[in-house]
């Protein structure tokens, strides 16, 4: 639906926003984005997983293994305090960006 570059610029914000509420495992985050965008945004594990790793590298999220009876153990990611700060910044920047882009788009349409 949306092209790759558009998605690329916003994925981090999407992941951080979804983890703001509670820890989730990787596939769940991807599914949730797809669900909440009514299928307009779709991520494959192959393209989504490196982003999770990068966020973890930067210390914005952290992973923890959780094992439940009869299930393969899964890695759950949650937001770190630094992640929370970055999320707040990114949210305001995003809002400003959207407003700015909208202003320009409206003025020229």
């Amino acid at each position: 639906m949306f092209n790759r570059d558009l998605k690329k610029g916003s994925t981090e914000l999407l992941v951080l926003s979804l983890l703001d509420q509670r820890p989730r495992h990787g596939y769940e985050i991807g599914k949730l984005i797809e669900l909440r965008s009514s299928g307009k945004l779709h991520f494959r594990i192959g393209s989504f997983y490196p982003i999770l790793c990068r966020l973890e590298d930067r210390g914005l999220i952290t992973g923890r293994w959780i094992e439940r009876a009869g299930e393969r153990r899964r890695r759950y990611y949650k937001l770190t305090s630094e992640g929370r700060t970055v999320l707040a910044q990114q949210r305001s920047v995003w809002k400003e960006f959207v407003v700015t882009v909208n202003d320009i788009v409206r003025a020229t349409s």
């Binding site: 495992h25 596939y27 769940e28 192959g46 997983y49 490196p50 790793c53 590298d57 992973g63």
Partner: protein, 959 residues
């Protein structure tokens, strides 16, 4: 259900991440794919469709791998990346397996692992350095003394002429200088000293040698003309000596054939080391004149530096030609150069095309002919006298014989120390291997072969031992030099040995290091072969299981290593204990005279021309002057000082025994007040009268003036017990000869001796030798002076020098030693091995303690949880302490028991080195056992105490 983890592992190609991180990513991705797959199944897709849908999530594995490689968490160091890249290549190219690149990556990985554990690495490297260093030090001495090639051109081509015969030839003079094994007098005689006429015949009649180098010790000489008079060791050599050996000159020229003629000028060539020491390496010394025993010699050159000796341990300060002997040597007479005087040693180079056996035949024929057809036949044909040619390298034994047993014993000791070091490091490696189980399991899970892991672990241990070897070389270099300096300091003449790092020593160290590395690396490597993946990977602690140090059961690998260390330590300590006890036994021997406050020194006034009556007067005068030095209680002289290693014996006929039977006694000519000075008690009769010294001096000056009455002799108690057991020995004559007594019409008439006094038994040449029947006779001269002082004997030395200066003679004094120092020098071999073996024993003890301490500490750490529970359930600290200490002591006691049994076998090798102590001496065994158990107790106490400090709450939270 598909195995998603395998699917991910097959497709993902990570290059830069640590194995643990890689495993995490694999599991995380596999979990997500499995979730996607299950979801598709739930949506009603078939299994195949669901798998397809999941697989669609990752299409471009290469770009995913690439992106993950760029994440920096879990990233390895640049060195490790190199290693892992090599490992990847290894997977792809397994069939074209390259040993070198594997080795490189193993070494790189090993270095990284070792650098990560600096504590472990330092202890292991130091332990190994001590073990390998001690071995290298002793080996480099063995190399210098036993194995080093002779410092000449083509040493293998140089042949020593040795003679042998069933019965000793009837020669009237024989001199040997410790160059080879010599046995003269009696059956199976042999040696390497030959007569001048025979060697001349070899040159002119056999035509088998292209060069023949002849040499003989010229003994100690008095050198003047270069500062104060000094004493040097010189060697007579033939004109073609240096040419035959292929030795060059460092300055000037060497002795040439034209120097070795009766009319030649007197020239001398200096040894390089002596030139450096005495002349400061100054080249202008060539052409200068020095005086040897008051005769002028021109220095014509210096031999090249590497030529420090021909016979190991027989170093000489300078060389002069054989033709000078008649001019120089005291006691030379025309008979010295006849066929019955054997005093020259020779080595030759065979002519090209002449076989050794052919040369031996020719030489033996000539030898037999010369012996049978001498003026007076020297041997019978049935005695089969023959010449054999032995490579000079093995034939010229020199100091090798004296040093071979101690060096062998020391090599055994350091070998055992190295074994202990190996066991110690193997114990450390085992403990660490347990801690590394997780890492190894992950590597195995990721597809590494077990053989590959074993090789990796062995490479790590060999890397450790090579590091230990490199450090060991430094220790060895320093140790070997100290050891040689010690050897040199106890020797009266230059030994000429230099310990260096040649290819043999470095090869030995390299081989030792590699074998050591494999030896201590095998145990942990074999253990890792048995790793069971599932429990290890599940256990999050990464510490392995409670199984601990090398397996379950009491007799596991870790325990066995500690037992082995203790047992080996017992062997070294028992050996060292026996050797120390031997030294103590020798030191505590009562030599029969008081060794405190005695100063000995030697001189030889005959070298500066004193002889006859003048010599006797000189001695009498000196004795009086020494007596007057403040602090000197009494002074005397003798042919040689007691316990100096020198010995003189004589044969005589004892009245009442068959005419041809010869009795023997030790023989020592002494000056006035000898017994009072040495404090040898007079048991019966009297000491010598002054006129007896005067008569002795007369006879020494002129043998023709010998009186026809028996000479006075004082004998010791052993002499009386052996030869006059049931009679009053005083006034008994003995030793008279003549046709009337022996029945031999050619026998000269000698009046013999009469016993005038009996003294207590006293040791003569050394401490080990039992006191033999000994006779003392009066003498107007002597080589050694003895001064009894009332305090520090060395304090009298200034007075002695002043007296010598007043006499106005340029006579050097040498071998200045107190009697105690003399005994120390005599016991140098015993002191050397006692001192070194105890150091190695201490080293062994230290290593074994570290081993025991390490094992227990590791176990206590591993059992924190268990100990916590026991203490929570009411166990007392005392129980826990007893438990841990008990385990340590049980191990140590087992080691002591095994070691004691083993030492019975091993210490038998010490045999001849021991004195008055049996190899199975119970006292030594018990003391070593007690010492070890006490030290073990101390080593156990620290970890045991730590165990009692365990807080149950903390311990229970531990897991």
């Amino acid at each position: 259900m598909p195995d998603w983890a395998s699917y991910v592992r097959q497709n993902l190609r990570l290059r830069t991440l640590r194995p643990e991180r890689e495993a995490e990513i694999v599991e995380d991705l596999a979990g997500q794919l499995e979730y996607a797959y299950r979801e598709s199944l739930n949506r009603g897709l078939t299994d195949e469709q669901a798998q397809d849908a999941a697989r669609q999530h990752v299409v471009d594995w290469a770009s995913l791998s690439n992106e993950l490689d760029h994440s920096h968490r879990g990233k390895e160091s640049a060195m490790a990346i190199l290693q892992r890249q090599a490992e990847d290549r290894d997977v792809r190219k397994r069939r074209t397996f390259s040993i070198l690149s594997d080795l490189r990556q193993d070494v790189l990985y090993g270095l990284r692992v070792l650098a990560k554990n600096p504590g472990f690495t330092t202890i292991a490297v130091l332990t190994l350095a001590l073990g390998i260093g001690a071995n290298t030090a002793i080996f480099s001495i063995i190399d210098a003394v036993m194995l080093k090639s002779l410092p000449v051109r083509d040493p293998q081509g140089l042949m020593l002429l040795k003679w042998g015969a069933r019965q000793s030839p009837k020669i009237h003079n024989s001199n040997s200088y410790g160059d080879c094994v010599t046995s003269i007098g009696g059956a199976n005689a042999g040696g390497c000293s030959l007569s001048k006429p025979f060697l001349e015949d070899v040159r002119t009649q056999t035509n088998v040698f292209s060069g023949l180098a002849e040499f003989a010790s010229a003994g100690a000489m008095n050198l003047s003309g270069n500062g104060p008079a000094s004493r040097v060791n010189a060697q007579y050599v033939s004109g073609d000596f240096f040419q035959t050996l292929g030795v060059g000159a460092a300055a000037g020229r060497l002795i040439a054939p034209f120097d070795d003629t009766p009319s030649a000028n007197s020239v001398a060539v200096l040894n390089y080391a002596y030139w450096q020491k005495a002349f400061g390496g100054n080249s202008s010394v060539v052409g200068e004149t020095i005086h040897l025993n008051n005769l002028p010699f021109t220095i014509v050159g210096v031999a090249e530096a590497r030529f420090n000796y021909l016979t190991p341990g027989n170093g000489y300060d300078l060389w002069i030609s054989l033709s000078q002997r008649s001019r120089l040597r005291k006691g030379w007479n025309p008979r010295s150069d006849d066929a019955g005087s054997w005093w020259i040693v020779a080595v030759g180079r065979l002519k090209p095309g002449v076989a050794r056996s052919e040369a031996q035949n020719k030489l033996s024929q000539l030898f037999l002919n010369d012996l049978l057809h001498a003026d007076k036949p020297l041997a019978k044909e049935e005695d089969a006298p023959a010449i054999t040619l032995e490579p000079a390298q093995t034939g010229l034994t020199g100091a090798r014989r004296r040093l071979s047993t101690p060096l062998f014993v020391l090599m055994m000791a350091v070998g055992i120390v190295l074994l202990i070091a190996c066991a110690n490091v193997a114990g450390l490696m085992l403990a660490r291997a347990a801690a590394r189980q997780k890492e190894i399991a992950v590597r195995l899970a990721l597809g590494a072969g077990r053989a590959r892991i074993v090789r990796q672990l062995l490479t790590e241990s060999v890397t450790l031992s090579i590091a230990g070897g490199l450090l060991g070389i430094i220790l060895a270099f320093w140790g070997a030099r100290a050891l040689l300096a010690f050897l040199e300091s106890t020797s009266q003449r230059p030994l000429g040995f230099t310990a260096g790092l040649d290819f043999r020593v470095l090869g030995f160290t390299a081989a030792t290091a590699i074998i050591t590395g494999i030896a201590f690396g095998l145990a942990p490597a074999v253990r890792c072969m048995r790793v069971d993946l599932t429990p290890v990977l599940k256990d999050g602690s990464g510490k392995g299981s409670s199984e601990g140090h090398g397996g379950r059961g009491w007799l596991n690998l870790g325990n066995s290593l500690v037992v082995a260390q203790v047992a080996l330590t017992v062997v070294v300590l028992v050996g060292a204990g026996l050797l120390v006890k031997t030294l103590e036994n020798l030191k505590s021997i009562d030599p029969g005279f008081s060794t405190n406050n005695v100063l000995n020194f030697d001189m030889d006034p005959t070298l500066t021309g004193y002889k006859g009556e003048r010599l006797a007067t000189f001695y009498r005068d000196l004795r009086d002057r020494f007596n007057a030095i403040p602090g000197v209680l009494s002074a005397s002289y003798s042919e040689m000082s007691l316990l100096s290693g020198s010995l003189s014996t004589t044969g005589f006929h004892l009245p009442g025994t068959p005419p041809k039977k010869e009795s023997n006694a030790d023989y020592l000519p002494v000056g006035a007040e000898f017994f009072a000075t040495m404090q040898i008690p007079l048991v019966g009769g009297r000491v010598f009268h002054p006129e007896e010294y005067v008569q002795a001096a007369k006879e020494e000056a002129d043998p023709k003036s010998q009186s026809q009455v028996p000479e006075a002799a004082i004998v010791n108690e052993s002499f009386v017990r052996a030869y006059f057991p049931n009679v009053n020995p005083l006034g008994q004559p003995f030793g008279a000869t003549g046709p009337g007594i022996t029945g031999d019409p050619d026998q000269t008439v000698e009046p013999g001796w009469v016993i005038v006094g009996v003294v207590g038994d006293a040791k003569y040449n050394n401490l080990r030798r039992e006191v033999h029947p000994t006779m003392y006779v009066p003498s107007g001269e002597g080589g050694s002076f003895e001064l009894r002082t009332d305090g520090n004997p060395m304090a009298a030395m200034d007075g002695v020098r002043e007296v010598m200066r007043q006499t106005g003679s340029d006579i050097p004094i040498f071998n200045v030693k107190t009697e105690s120092e003399q005994i120390d020098a005599l016991l140098f071999q015993e002191r050397l091995i006692a001192r070194l073996s105890s150091s190695f024993g201490m080293l062994a003890l230290l290593l074994a303690c570290i081993g025991l301490y390490g094992l227990l500490s590791y176990e206590v750490a591993g059992r924190t949880h268990e100990i916590g529970i026991r203490m929570a359930l009411g166990a007392q600290a005392g129980n826990v302490l007893r438990d841990v200490v008990g385990k340590g002591i049980t191990l140590a006691a087992t080691g002591v028991a095994i070691g004691s049994a083993a030492s019975f076998e091993v210490t038998r090798f010490l045999g001849t080195l021991l004195y008055d102590v049996k190899p199975s001496d119970p006292k030594t065994l018990v003391s070593v056992g007690v010492i070890l158990l006490l030290v073990a107790l101390a080593a156990c106490y620290v970890p045991a105490r730590r165990a009692t400090m365990v807080d149950p709450l903390v311990a229970l939270r531990y897991e």
